[in-house]
């Protein structure tokens, strides 16, 4: 008996699972740096977060939806990693699990699971924790590069936190400000996965090479922010607006490369992606420079997530043989 089917009879080897695996691989450099810089405290958060996300998704599928668990597509692991990357090292296990619950159960599964959520689950989880547990969320262990077993945690402010409340314009008077090199390699305070620009860039290059994402969203996002930031800096001349510090510290790189590029919550046309990325850049600038928070990336991306349906219906690619409307 011959099998019958419609064409095509071939498929690309790339599957949803394969894409997620590539994203996980791309996240590895940032994970390694996070573990080296923050030690056991980071490891605990990452393990809790990944396990929590996978477990919640499994439970929802298995016992509430009574369907085959979708955990096999690895997307819950990506969410778990990204949530952990957006938390400070040593963040309490119980609160991490609450973050997982919000990310997976509320932001993802309640909307219909993979591909159906409006907002980036990891960011929803992070922002929920950030608003609900501001103290724990802003307790930043100091970097302790390569001193892995050190459990005696000193804490301090993040670079952007220092800048936000800066009263002086004299570099010499702010000794706690890290060097550019440390910011680039990641030997600074901050969330577990955001500290190393270098590691994130490696992940970005890997995803470009594997054609997981196109360059448009990260590049337009960062470029828009840097442009506005530079103008602001040139006009005011204040150190706290120094663009390179804003690029290398804080969540901009992580957000631009790994969060804003999430397929489900970003537009589906090239021009739409550019518009969305520019929107993210503008909002990040506005929140960082005019808001009360030192960080603006999470809110900026979540706000732009809400605009995705509108962007998708506005930026429609030209059909071959027709003129652009």
């Amino acid at each position: 008996m011959l099998k019958l089917s419609t064409a095509p009879h071939l498929n690309t080897p790339t599957t949803t699972k394969g894409i997620m695996l590539d994203v996980i691989i791309a996240l590895m450099p940032a994970l390694i740096v996070g573990l080296l810089v923050f030690g056991m405290g980071a490891l605990q958060v990452v393990i809790t977060s990944v396990a929590g996300c996978v477990l919640f998704e499994y439970i929802i599928c298995r016992y509430f939806l009574k369907s085959n668990p979708t955990t096999g597509d690895l997307s819950a692991i990506v969410t778990g990693l990204l949530l952990a990357f957006n938390l400070p090292s040593g963040f309490p296990i119980s609160l991490t699990l609450i973050g997982c619950f919000v990310a997976i159960v509320i932001a993802k599964m309640a909307f219909g699971g993979i591909g159906k959520n409006i907002f980036n689950p990891a960011l929803v989880g992070r922002v929920f924790l950030f608003i609900s547990f501001p103290v724990q969320m802003t307790t930043w262990p100091k970097p302790q590069a390569f001193n892995f077993m050190n459990t005696d945690m000193e804490t301090g402010a993040t670079t952007l936190g220092i800048l936000k409340h800066l009263k002086t314009n004299d570099f010499a008077q702010i000794p706690e400000l890290p060097s550019y090199l440390n910011m680039f390699i990641g030997n600074i305070g901050g969330c577990i996965g955001e500290v190393s620009a270098l590691a994130i860039l490696l992940g970005f290059v890997y995803m470009l090479y594997r054609r997981i994402i196109s360059w448009h969203i990260p590049v337009y996002y960062v470029a828009t922010f840097m442009l506005l930031c530079s103008i602001h800096w040139l006009l005011t001349g204040e150190i706290r607006h120094e663009p390179l510090i804003h690029l290398l510290s804080g969540g901009l790189m992580l957000g631009a490369v790994f969060m804003a590029t999430d397929y489900t919550t970003s537009p589906m046309s090239k021009n739409g992606r550019i518009a969305y990325a520019i929107g993210c850049g503008i909002l990040t600038y506005v929140i960082r420079f005019y808001g009360i928070y030192p960080e603006g990336v999470s809110f900026a991306i979540l706000i732009m997530n809400a605009f995705v349906p509108l962007i998708d219906s506005t930026f429609i690619p030209r059909v071959f043989g027709t003129r652009r409307k």
């Binding site: 011959l2 099998k3 019958l4 089917s5 419609t6 064409a7 095509p8 009879h9 071939l10 498929n11 690309t12 790339t14 599957t15 949803t16 394969g18 894409i19 979708t70 597509d73 997307s75 219909g112 699971g113 993979i114 591909g115 159906k116 397929y263 489900t264 970003s266 589906m268 046309s269 090239k270 429609i316 690619p317 030209r318 059909v319 071959f320 043989g321 027709t322």
Partner: protein
């Protein structure tokens, strides 16, 4: 040299061209052939023979019924034993003339010599008439009657003939082999079409994964004025008419229009070769090159020259000794081919290949949720949004459906192929087309 290609979408396909080094082999004669009287787009032809008639190779079996139709000739000599509706490769009932093969006697008018006849003696009108009498249709798969494309309608202008040697489909090498082995005949065929169309500009388009065909064609075209070779990037679906015209001339066929509206005519190399044989050798279209292949279900893949009406099983037996391994038989290539209901369906003027898949390869992977990766839209060569088409169909949203330009879909299958969630997007596009057609009625 700069490689030509189309700008929008497209994919780099693993082409599985495992038979590109296999010379064309005579398939031999089956005991019985089944010749469908409709192997083209348009009206079925009128049957001219009846049960018991003796026919020769090249005897007219059915006459074209009107302009959009084509003559059908016998591919063998023997006796008509039955004229009946038989299930074809597409699973439709199709009227076929069934002939029991006796010997291999050709109509005396056919020039069976191997000598290449270069001089074109017929006039433009005579050429078109000869093409019509030879039952030639678009052999790339479209099946559009060729005489129509060899005459320029009132008010239209043509300045470029593109001979399509791209063969971007996975697995197929029939056109490739034909170009390698019959290059000069194809070039003369292009000259004949030039004459029929009253132009001086034929371009043979070949994609870069056929280095031997490119080399031979370049060498031969040097001797012929008005025929040139252009090398295209090996991208799928480069061989689709609109994409090819865009790549070669930069012109974009407007939505709902035909190549002739941008002054182009595109003909497949197989068709052009058939035109050469019809005009120079008086040979009607009764045989063609067919790649019979497969990665795991064909131990001895081949390029055959086979008579029209040969049952697929006759060819399959020559490449596969373990029929139990065959899970799926596809008429055509892996991307656009039609999966056949049985192995005995006959090959037609449009069968460029038979692809065999084993049971494992024939099993379609389960569909999962759309992750909105937009690969379907990014790779659509027509700039369509298959994900939106699928959503509109699922929601029965006809208003939205009309906005999505479904009628521009060329059914290349790139969207289904590329989808990491394995959503059958092409099926949704085809459903959408049916829906739009239904509403127009």
């Amino acid at each position: 040299m700069e490689l030509k290609t189309f700008p929008m979408g497209g994919i780099h396909l693993d082409k599985h061209k495992i038979t590109s080094d296999k010379p064309i082999k005579e398939a031999g004669l089956p005991e019985i052939v089944y010749i469908p009287i409709k192997q083209h787009i348009g009206a079925p032809s009128k049957i001219k023979v009846q049960k018991g008639d003796k026919v020769k190779v090249g005897t007219l079996l059915a006459d074209a019924d009107g302009i959009v139709s084509a003559d059908v000739h016998s591919s063998v000599s023997g006796e008509v034993i039955k004229i009946d509706d038989i299930v074809d490769a597409d699973a439709y009932l199709s009227t076929m003339v069934v002939i029991k093969v006796e010997g291999d006697e050709f109509e005396p008018t056919i020039d069976q010599s191997h000598e290449i006849k270069k001089e074109i003696t017929l006039s433009a009108e005579e050429i078109v008439k000869k093409i019509r009498e030879s039952g030639i249709v678009g052999m790339g798969g479209a099946g559009y009657p060729t005489p129509i494309k060899a005459t320029i309608p009132e008010g239209k202008r043509v300045n470029t003939l593109i001979v399509n040697g791209i063969e971007c489909e996975a697995f197929l090498t029939a056109d490739d082999r034909l170009m390698v082995e019959r290059a000069e005949e194809i070039v003369i065929g292009a000259k004949i079409l030039n004459k029929a169309l009253g132009i001086q500009n034929a371009i043979i388009a070949i994609d870069e994964n056929k280095p031997r065909a490119i080399e031979i064609m370049k060498k031969i075209t040097r001797k012929y004025v008005g025929v040139n070779v252009r090398v295209c990037e090996s991208k799928y679906p480069q061989g689709a008419e609109k994409q090819l015209i865009k790549a070669i001339t930069g012109r974009e066929v407007p939505s709902g229009k035909l190549p002739i509206d941008v002054h182009c005519i595109v003909q497949n190399v197989g068709t052009v070769h058939a035109i050469y044989e019809a005009v120079q050798k008086n040979k009607p279209l009764f045989e063609r090159i067919i790649t019979v292949t497969g990665d795991n279900a064909a131990e001895n893949p081949q390029n055959f020259r086979a008579r029209i009406g040969t049952p697929a099983s006759f060819l399959i037996k020559q490449v596969n000794t373990h029929p139990e391994n065959i899970g799926k038989v596809i008429f055509g290539g892996g991307m656009m081919g039609v999966s056949a209901v049985n192995m005995d369906a006959p090959v037609t003027k449009l069968t460029s290949g038979i692809l065999l898949l084993n049971d494992e390869d024939a099993t379609k992977p389960p569909e999962t949720a759309c992750i909105r990766c937009a690969r379907c839209a990014d790779s659509c060569p027509m700039g369509l949004r298959p994900f939106a088409i699928a959503t509109a169909i699922r929601n029965h949203d006809n208003k939205e459906l009309k906005q999505l330009h479904i009628m521009d879909c060329i059914e290349c299958g790139t969207c289904s192929f590329i989808c990491p969630a394995r959503i059958p997007l092409l099926d949704y596009c085809k459903l959408g087309k049916m829906e739009i057609r239904k509403q127009k009625k």
